[in-house]
């Protein structure tokens, strides 16, 4: 009686099985790496409809963040500026620049400029800019050195772990409230020490329970 399977069948099967397992494992780990928020989310830097440079405005010219993002201290939402805000200066400054064509069009027609959102949180997360800025969390903590970016890119993963890490130990990220928009500010001494002092002075207790962020 001839065997149904050849002699090496067992060996092929074992090799095949281990290749299969290997393929699955590597697939899972590669995708876990590829799609991990740390990699997939950071570095996101979409092209904007207007070639606006934060480096020029906030860095070289030294404009305060709040000139344009004026709601950041009062509202949960740090709104991008209205076209009017841009035109306050650009009626005088470079009024004919071809780069500003979409801005002038928007100003004339009243149609908004379709900026592309860079920092996006899921809908079930209720992040509030005003609460953070007024507690002394600087723009730079979440958005990085925007004053050095020509085209804004996401530098932090904005994951829940990343948020909660800071909520559990906020001291190194708290600075005097009037310095939150000074992106290049470096404390004299231990930032955590200054943070702890400010937290005690201003009674800062970031929430660690669910409804602090999820409602």
């Amino acid at each position: 009686m001839t065997p149904i399977f050849p002699k090496q069948a067992d060996k092929y099967f074992r090799i095949g099985l281990s290749l299969f397992v290997l393929a699955i494992l590597s697939g899972v780990s590669i995708s876990a790496y590829m799609f991990s928020p740390n990699r997939a989310e950071t570095g996101y830097s979409p092209v904007q409809p207007v070639e606006y440079s934060h480096k020029l405005h906030a860095g070289n010219l030294g404009m305060d963040c709040r000139y344009c993002h004026s709601t950041v201290e009062h509202s949960g939402f740090a709104a991008p500026p209205t076209t009017e805000t841009c035109m306050n200066c650009h009626k005088m400054v470079k009024p004919d620049s071809p780069l500003l064509q979409p801005v002038r069009e928007s100003y004339a027609s009243g149609r908004p400029i379709p900026w592309v959102r860079v920092h996006s949180l899921p809908d079930y997360v209720y992040f509030n800019h005003a609460a953070h800025v007024n507690a002394g969390v600087s723009c730079v903590t979440c958005h990085g050195r925007v004053d050095q970016m020509v085209q804004v890119r996401q530098v932090e993963p904005l994951t829940m772990k990343w948020c909660v890490d800071c909520h559990r130990d906020p001291a190194p990220h708290i600075r005097p409230r009037e310095l939150v928009t000074k992106l290049d500010w470096q404390p004299d001494g231990d930032p955590a020490e200054i943070g702890r002092r400010l937290m005690a002075e201003n009674n800062i207790h970031p929430p660690e329970n669910c409804s602090g962020c999820h409602r």
């Binding site: 989310e41 979409p46 709601t71 201290e73 009243g110 908004p112 400029i113 959102r117 209720y126 409804s211």
Partner: protein, 965 residues
Amino acid sequence: MNQTGKQYWRSLEQLSNTPQFSEWLHREFPESAAVLDSSSRRTMLKLMAASFGLAGLTACSRPVEKILPAAKGSEEYTPGKPVFYSTVMPLNGAATGLIVETHEGRPTKIEGNPEHSSSGGACSAFAQASILDLYDPDRARFVTHETRQSSWDEFFAFAKPHFDPTQMGAGEGLRFLSQTVNSPSLDAVREHVLRRYPKARWVEYEPVSRDEELAGSELAFGRRLQAHYRFDRADVVVSLDADFLGLDSPEVRYSRDFSRRRRVASEKDSMNRLYIAESQYSVTGAMADHRFRMRAAEVPDFAADLARELGVLPPALTVLNANSRGKRAAAVARDLKRSRERSIVIAGPRQPAEVHALAHLMNYALGNVGRTVVYTESPFVPQLTALKELAEEMAAGKISTLVILGGNPVYDAPADLEFGAAMKKVAVTIHLSVSQNETSALAKWHLPEAHYLEAWGDARALDGTASIQQPMIRPLYGGKTAAEVLAALTGYKDQRAYDIVRNYWMAKWPARDAESMWRRCLHDGVIPGTQYPLVEPKPGKAPELRPSEAPAGLELAFYPSASVWDGRFANNGWLQETPEPMTKLTWDNAALVSPATAREFGLATGDLINIEVQGRQVPMPVWIQPGHADGAISVALGYGRTRCGRVGDNVGHNAYRIRTTANFHFGSASIQKTGRKYRLASAQEHFAMEGRAPVREATLEEYRKEPHFAAEHKGEAFSIFGDFDYSKGYQWGMVIDLNACIGCNACTVACQAENNIPIVGKDQVARGREMHWIRLDRYYTGPEDDPQAVTQPMNCQQCERAPCESVCPVGATSHSPEGLNDMAYNRCVGTRYCANNCPFKVRRFNFLNYHKGLTETEKMAFNPDVTVRMRGVMEKCTYCVQRIEEKRIQAKLEGRRPIRDGEITPACAQTCPAEAIVFGNINDPNSRVAKLKKLNRNYTLLDELNLKPRTSYLAKLRNPNPELA
């Protein structure tokens, strides 16, 4: 059993404890097996595999989101912050002053305006839900001409020459039909129109009528007066079939005033006493200390008995008073006499004019007039006779042009007027309404009307207080108001709704102050000095009253629906799904009969019967209502619409088809059984709390003897879980006063609007899957023929030792340091263990992605501060944590000040007309909630489980007359 020895029951099935009932009760999610219709397990697995694959693909690229800042900014508006505007909602000749929350230019939530006399900061379920009507995708989107899409231009091209006086003449054949006009500026336009066409006539009609009230005041005083009751000053109230806490009061003021007299702080306090004589069990009946159930036709006899006892009518010649009705009347009359100048006799709008006249005269005799009852000139005119004349003229072919401004007479006019047939005899019919309805289908032209939240207007409350109706958003579908359409047709001096309203009011003020007055009125939501002046009426002779005759067959009475009113809210899913306060029926009306009548006719709940009135028939399912008068049927109007939209079409049965001018309020009817069954979806047995005593109740006398009757003996129980430290910071808690709660459902709808709660539909309600985060449990106690009823609002009790938290395998529900039982919806995987472990049955599971398929306009109604939950997620009340967090952040921004008491109000508490719900920080001994929790009526539910709920209740009290006990 509870301490006062009463047994509470929710339904007749529970009272008789049928096996079906216990099975229903013992399954946490009844009928949860058959969920996915018609798809097998195998197909489901295939679909799941496919969706996993697709999910993997979509994750490869990040979706591009756009931010669109306004090109031009506005001073008043900060992106991300809501803006609040005052406005007013007209309903049935009354008006409720409102404050509307808008987000990024879209209205999302309605609250009562605290400055407005009719609302006092609260509002009804109707006002709460009206925001959904604004976003109704079935609204009329364009002008329709003979079922063809047309435009405003085409309409005016036809209508302007047609309405030109050279064509129209003096308007012999011109008639206008509208709902009750209580808008001063529309009234001015109407005057202009009627001057232009002196022979034209304007008829007003509402199916929920005030005609008898009006006629009653004419009988009593010889002039048309409007009575205003001051329930906050009355010790004894006698209601003659008046559901003044519920459907017979389109404004919420009476609820607030009445419940102020039921807020008992200690056993030394007094409270008012309410008697009611009625047929259907109303919410006012549930509040009553004595409820005399009788057919509506017997109420005049009771009124006459009472009037004789009070000397308003001459004493009876025969010894009528020997019967039990007479004895009751005598006892009530003695009680009234003891409370001279501090009592009220009020007659309901269904009762004939004579009963109203008697009530007025009794108030006069008791010295109540000018104290608890005040009068103003009535702005209303009799409607039914005018409508009858109009229908006759139309049928006779005398009318050539009929302009119907709002309303739906083809559906809701009395059946014997045959309004639809009469309309076909009119050459030009123009109908203006928010959405196309039964009347639009027969009109030559249909014009889209602007919703009250998107148009300028004004409205007067019943006491005369006028408010500007301020739009929140531009008309979504190019609608116009009635005033605008009339102004365009007749060349009124102003054309835009804004100018019509503004110029009308500006002309009333001195030119120097007019602009600032206008701004002030817009801001406050009230125009000062517009209340009607009080008048002092002179009473006339008492009317003749004949004793009622026993009706041939059964008595049939019509009531507005607690859900859809007269039918105008039929396409509103929130209201359709709100359980009727007493029957707990959703998505249906029914023929309510008493248990004895059901036995007599061999009827069971769910039997389909034919109700016949003068040769007109309508099928109607039976619902056996404990406490209903024997020999009588009650039906709710407003159901059985055939042309209102995808929500309300063919829901329930149309009672207007058997409502005629002769039995407009009640009359006799006969019934035939059809032998068929009809499925009714009632929420009354859902989430029952078997045999425990959730409601604690005593009479005032018992309470005085035993002030701590509500408290249970509490042994020190320990918990195997470590306790949180609740001694510091804010600790949120709630107190619900069962003695003040009137069971009106406003909290349920307010919660639905605030928390983006989905509508599930009749089939899902029948399976026990309604999603309301706060429900109103209604318990009966006493014999099934004549029980008392108690309502109890039930939301998440926020247990300090929450049993739901310890069983969640993924930590989706956990405790906050401020004592809230938090839900992280995005973490929930839907095991439903938490709901299974919740003894209060307040957790709701989203079985079927109920928000699926919403149109873009409906999505505009969502509150952006609350997550819109998906299928497979458990959800529940969080004390409106979004409002807590908003105020906390605001307090931080304002120099890290403490949050003030009363600053945070959950949606249910804010809208409660009875002010029965109080929320606050229990760690602050001066907060209202902490003070209430110290009262001896305070108790928490299910003490024996050692859950320490943060919500506590104040026990219910009744104040019966010892003579009648």
